[in-house]
């Protein structure tokens, strides 16, 4: 691994360093809300997933949904964090129309998950370790809709009470790229662990972005916090914009104020929402309706045992045990679905060919990333919507590996599969695409080609070695690509050399 190089930004008056911390809000994947039995399903009609508890009717009480606790512990384990066997739910008090209780149940002093570390890969081939401060559980608020009526605001409480995990990083990131890589890594981890669907379009993951700048090596600067940024691209825009804004301010002799800001995706800029003076005093205190949350180490251990293989471990296995290139392994594990597809394909291929996985993995990875991903990208489809089934994909690769078709023919067959959805064996059969390895037949064709190209033969023998490829191409052309290229090479060489 390359050594991490700090990144500085050049200002008019010298170098600056940006310091970034993220608070990621990830919606817990669960059927029911954190403290009530109401459904968490996305996209329902307004106020149809609302119980007496999530609408804060008088006398209603919260009861912890245990599955949400398990999901938070799984996430903590996936991030390699310390799990706290005792944690406390607190009330965060503030008034807003879409906060029916007048407080949000959250965890303040004693969160369920403590410190951990995340390693991210950067584009220049280096890695960086980013600290996780904590993960705590909290309720989501409802949604205020300001565009339904000229003078009134409507409130939809479907989201009210849905469980969120707030994952707080340490201020360890030093560029938009690092922040993006960290966010993506967290997203990958929660999706592997099955604790959040990571669906950013539906708001399942969003981040509050804390940005400050300082002279290299100086004390931390004053930060701004930009709320509710819901894509990696926007997050990187926020960081670029805030960095520039703060450096410009400071270089012009101004001052950065601690404040909450909001992002405008249309202009790519941020603007002030409220200053420190206007900040809420949330008056946190332990929620007297809930007892402290306590569980045993055994409970944690059982969840740890049942966790699926996580991306770092999977990547290392692909590289070290299966011989997949580091780049390809990183691409495959980035999305759980891709990794799952690859692994199933490899299983099926090993079964079909009777060969060991490590002999097949490299080729399978190349095909998935090169051919399949290329085709998916063209049609804008995701791997779960792949037009080529696992079975057909494995069959196509198997045909290639057992020498039935050449790599070139395989690409043609794949195109036909995409167009027709037919299975590869059928296509090879119908189109007569089986590879020719019969030396007699190939010999005859080589002789024909040489006879037709006497001038090229003279040039070749005169030292133009590159013409070897021309002869190979002619042979392949005459066999419509079906000749086994290895056999062609073997037979052609002595004939040309004379």
């Amino acid at each position: 691994m390359e050594k991490y190089i700090p990144k500085y930004i050049q200002g008019a008056t010298g170098d600056w360093e940006v310091v970034i911390g993220l608070e990621i809000h990830a919606q817990v994947a669960s059927e029911a809300k954190l403290f009530s039995g109401s459904s968490t399903k996305f996209g329902a009609d307004p106020n149809t997933h609302v119980s007496f508890v999530c609408s804060a009717m008088p006398g209603m009480l919260p009861v912890i949904n245990e599955e949400c606790i398990r999901q938070a512990v799984r996430t903590g384990l996936a991030m390699g964090c310390e799990i706290h066997l005792r944690s406390v739910f607190d009330r965060k008090n503030y008034f807003y129309a879409d906060l029916p209780q007048g407080y949000q149940i959250s965890q303040f002093k004693d969160p369920i998950v403590g410190e951990g570390e995340i390693i991210v890969d950067l584009e220049d081939g280096t890695t960086k370790t980013i600290g996780v401060e904590r993960l705590h559980l909290e309720q989501d608020a409802g949604k205020s809709m300001h565009d339904q009526h000229p003078t009134q605001t409507y409130v939809d409480l479907n989201r009210s009470g849905v469980a969120l995990m707030e994952i707080v990083s340490k201020p360890d990131m030093r560029s938009a790229e690092e922040a993006g890589a960290y966010f993506r890594k967290i997203r990958t981890l929660v999706r592997y662990a099955g604790t959040c669907d990571g669906n950013m379009d539906q708001g399942s993951m969003r981040a509050d972005v804390n940005v400050s700048v300082r002279r290299p090596g100086a004390e931390l600067g004053i930060r701004s916090e930009t709320k509710n940024v819901n894509s990696v691209r926007f997050m990187m825009q926020v960081i670029e914009f805030e960095t520039r804004r703060q450096i410009d301010l400071l270089e012009d002799g101004g001052e950065v104020f601690q404040e909450t800001r909001q992002f405008d995706p249309a202009s790519g800029t941020t603007s002030s929402l409220r200053s420190k003076e206007e900040a809420h005093d949330y008056r946190y205190f332990p929620d007297p309706d809930l007892l402290p949350l306590e569980f045993t180490q055994e409970f944690v251990d059982d969840l740890a045992k049942a966790l699926p293989e996580l991306p770092d471990a999977k990547r290392n296995r692909l590289i070290n045990d299966l011989g997949v290139s580091a780049y390809n392994a990183a691409v495959l594990v980035a999305e759980k679905e891709s990794a799952d597809y690859f692994e199933s394909l490899l299983d099926s291929l090993a079964h079909k060919t009777g060969k060991a996985k490590e002999e097949l993995a490299k080729q399978a990875a190349n095909w998935v990333i090169g051919d399949l991903f290329g085709a998916l990208k063209k049609t804008g489809k995701s791997i779960s919507e792949s037009p080529v089934s696992l079975k057909d994909g494995a069959e196509l690769l198997a045909l290639q590996i057992d020498g039935t078709i050449s790599g070139r023919i395989a690409k043609d067959v794949f195109e036909i599969m995409l167009d027709t959805g037919k299975n590869p064996e059928l296509i090879v059969e119908e189109k007569g695409l089986k590879q020719v390895s019969d030396t007699g037949a190939i010999d005859a064709i080589i002789d024909e080609v040489i006879a037709d190209n006497q001038d090229k033969l003279v040039q070749y023998r005169g030292g133009k070695d590159k013409l070897f490829g021309f002869f190979v191409g002619q042979v392949m052309k005459k066999t419509q690509g079906k000749a086994n290229p290895q056999v062609v090479n073997q037979l052609l060489k002595p004939k040309l050399d004379g």
Binding site: F52, S55, A56, M57, P58, G59, M60, L61, P62, V63, I64, R91, N93, F95, Y96, A97, P100, Q101, G102, Y103, T153, V155, D281, R283, Y284, F285, P288, D289, L290, L291
Partner: protein, 498 residues
Amino acid sequence: MTDLTKLTLAEARDGLAKGDFTSRELTQQHLAAMEKGRELNSFIVETTDIALDMADKADEMIKAGRGTGMTGIPIAVKDLFCTRDIHSCAASHILDGFKPKYESTVTANLWQDGAVMLGKTNMDEFAMGSSNETSYYGPVNNPWRATKQDGRLSENNYVPGGSSGGSVAAVAGHLALAATGSDTGGSIRQPAAFTGLVGLKPTYGRCSRWGMIAFASSLDQAGPITKTVRDAAIMMESMASYDDKDSTSVNRNVPNYEHALTGDIRGMKIGIPKEYRMDGMPQEIEKLWQQGIEWMKAAGAEIIDISLPHTKYALPTYYIVAPAEASSNLARYDGVKYGLRVEGNGLSGMYKNTRAAGFGDEVKRRILIGTYVLSAGYYDAYYLKAQKIRTLIAQDFAKAYEKVDVILTPTAPSPAFAMGEKSNDPIAMYLNDIFTVPASLAGLPAISVPAGLSADALPLGLQLIGRAFDEETMLRAAHVLEHAADYTAQPKIWWGEK
């Protein structure tokens, strides 16, 4: 026909079982008494039709042999309990017109057992008060009035105590056979003492708080207000249950409390805490306490002097913890979802107008105190310190219960006082709770038993505090105390005579 309103709950139960009268007859007599007793202002809502309907159903239950201790018993329900489709407003203007679509667990238990609802009783707004003068529906008049030197009844109205003032007035005035109350710092026990009734606050967690409009969640407990200890035992058994909808509810079997009333307390160790001997305590209270000690000794109990050293901090601790929780619990009354809404300029204008108009002065005072003690910079000095003292107070009791079985104290430092006498002096009002608050903070069961009359012939009560979840021993002692006191006084009827 005989006056059925003068019966105790136990006598009515036995009469119903024997077929001496029906629940309809019993209920009708109480409804008539309610009508005559409207001057007491003990009911906010009279549910006449529902009462008769429930009485008929109870008569069927009894006929079918499915009667329980509460079947056919007409009771009054404090307005703090949510009752389905019936006015449930905690005597606050801010909940104007609120009719819940759900039934509190405690009342559901009572209806399940066949109890009959006469109506919803008046109370201090959100249970905040010790005189029932803070209700939006006006003060409740104590059926008791002082007897002047010349032997004539005072023309002044006396307070019934609070916050369950409507409930005690209804029972003491024989408008209901029993009533539900709720006790946060003494709201069952002090009004029971002021009206010559038995008031039982069970162990925290014994009754479900689900569907009880919250005042201070870590202290609120429902309990019965009755004419006798036996009645309290019968009603307690029906009200108590484990409820998985309340996370602070405790999963323990509910015993047959009536079986605990053996009349035998020989060898029982009764603690007398020296710290309850306050400076300036009226002589008659001190005398009654001493009398109580003598009665218990005469019944064969062993009297043991004990010390509860942190007692003097209980009241200030209570008046930090309870308002802190209340300030948060009452945040949901914001004009957005239900109850009162007073339009204003934007959301915050609406909030301000609604809460200014909807809450009374005492509620506002406690919201302000609670907000203050939870504020940044004050939390540690007030709320956190109060929590620590609360732990010390609980430890005082735990230590005492190594040596004793129950603790005997006065219930209140004075008899009922005249209307308006203390309403402008919050501190004098808060001092009413001085003997009741420690058990509330420690979550212990406590009961007030009528034990005598003051110099001007107003009822006085003695309090017994039990071990957590040992209501049985406490009830046994209370039953003996009740018999020794031989309290038979009844208020002279001054209402409804015009």
